[in-house]
Symmetry: none
Subunit: 135 residues, 4 copies
DNA sequence: GTGGTCTAGACCACT
DNA sequence: GTGGTCTAGACCACC
């Protein structure tokens, strides 16, 4: 549910990205139900002690990505699932994300088994390890 | 060997980061041997057709993190391996990188198998799939 | 070419949208070539006498849409064409755009022939009337 | 007839606009006859489960643009037709709406035939395809 | 009350 | 020089 969203100031990840990530994971794990209303831009900004524009940016990204839908004057809501991107685009973005992980891991001098273990651990933690595609 | 370093101009990754990654990766895969000399800043800049400052920045980062060592008046060389981060720090950073991948993937509505496959494919492509930690 | 971008203050369309539209049309009509560099955020903002954030917003939208690619510290460029959206998403967005046109037209009490004529006239003006899909 | 008015909550279009459009469209297609009475603000608000202010806003817009007329103490009725905009103004606004459609379409890499087909399909769906201007 | 757009200006990262 | 993030605050449109 909405109360879950938290941010870490001073993290490497931009604030708006932290929010995007948490909403996406929340939807994937079922913490956010389809049709559920999210906290208003102003309310969330006040709770997290950050600027409303930053929330608006995060929500806007999620709307463009098809995760949320906004109804002017009413609020923003979890959108019904739909596939927004072409297969090519999905592969392209997935590859970029994988590259970012591996690049970071090589920098940390992790072994490949450490990477695999970390990925599996997190998937299990999120209850995703047996999830089907485009469930 | 040094001749391996290449850059992709249209890539999302910053130029200096592409160089850093390739050197680190070369060390991890054994393409660069300990004590081996790298091309000079000026020589590499000329070959890659980019600004020497960008090379200098990359080499500087690698020296600072202990992957390279620069010997005054001689050039830069692959340094004996040593780790920079504590185990806790490594695990923390690895977890963040994993989360970024998973968030992107669920946003794309990828199955967990697609994620696993994409990671393994990339590891294999880079010649990392059977390497041990810190060689 | 870049000098083409103009805006109309006080128009119903938001400024950032006017920029997005002009870049998209410029790419479609060949006024912008693939790989061509666009004016920098600051330069365009200065020329159009609007805030740089507004340009950045427009460029950002176009990057997400796959029309532009930005290279940090270098500039933004026309990206090679690729299909970013799934067929469903394309149909969905096309339908929304058509609905907006018809809604406006009904409000203006236009006949259907006026709509058809206006569409064809504009396509011809842009030199698109015989263009193939995903050229 | 009035019973036709419906709204879609998840739609991109604002609620008041959906009502305005449907009344205008009903007039254009002949579903509403001149002099016909519309449901009262309160009655329609109750049926559609939305705020009466929203209905009032929609009716107000329609009265202001001459599509409806309100008779004190009796209700609102379909007004005899009259045009609001000059021909130039209509053409100008129509051209802007057409440009928005074309920009969106080229962004989606649609062919011109896809655009034409989508427009015709929607006109047919709305029962407009063979109607004359201003009936 | 809600979200959307725009301005002004700061600070950071990259070339 | 370039783009990217964030803050602060204004004003508008919709419910």
């Amino acid at each position: 549910m909405a109360g879950d969203i938290e941010i870490i100031l001073g993290s490497a990840a931009p604030l708006y990205r932290q929010i995007v990530d948490q909403v996406r994971l929340g939807v994937a794990t079922g913490n956010f139900a389809i049709g559920e209303q999210l906290p208003s831009v102003r309310a969330l900004a006040e709770r997290l002690l950050i600027n409303p524009n930053t929330i608006a940016r995060a929500y806007g990204d999620l709307v463009r990505e098809g995760v949320l839908e906004s109804r002017h004057g009413q609020g923003v809501f979890i959108a019904p699932r739909r596939s927004v991107f072409s297969d090519d685009e999905r592969q392209r973005r997935l590859a970029l994300a994988v590259d970012a992980l591996i690049s970071e891991s090589v920098g940390l001098q992790c072994s490949v088994d450490e990477i695999r273990t970390a990925v599996e651990a997190r998937l299990k933690e999120l209850g995703l390890s047996n999830r089907k595609k485009r469930g």
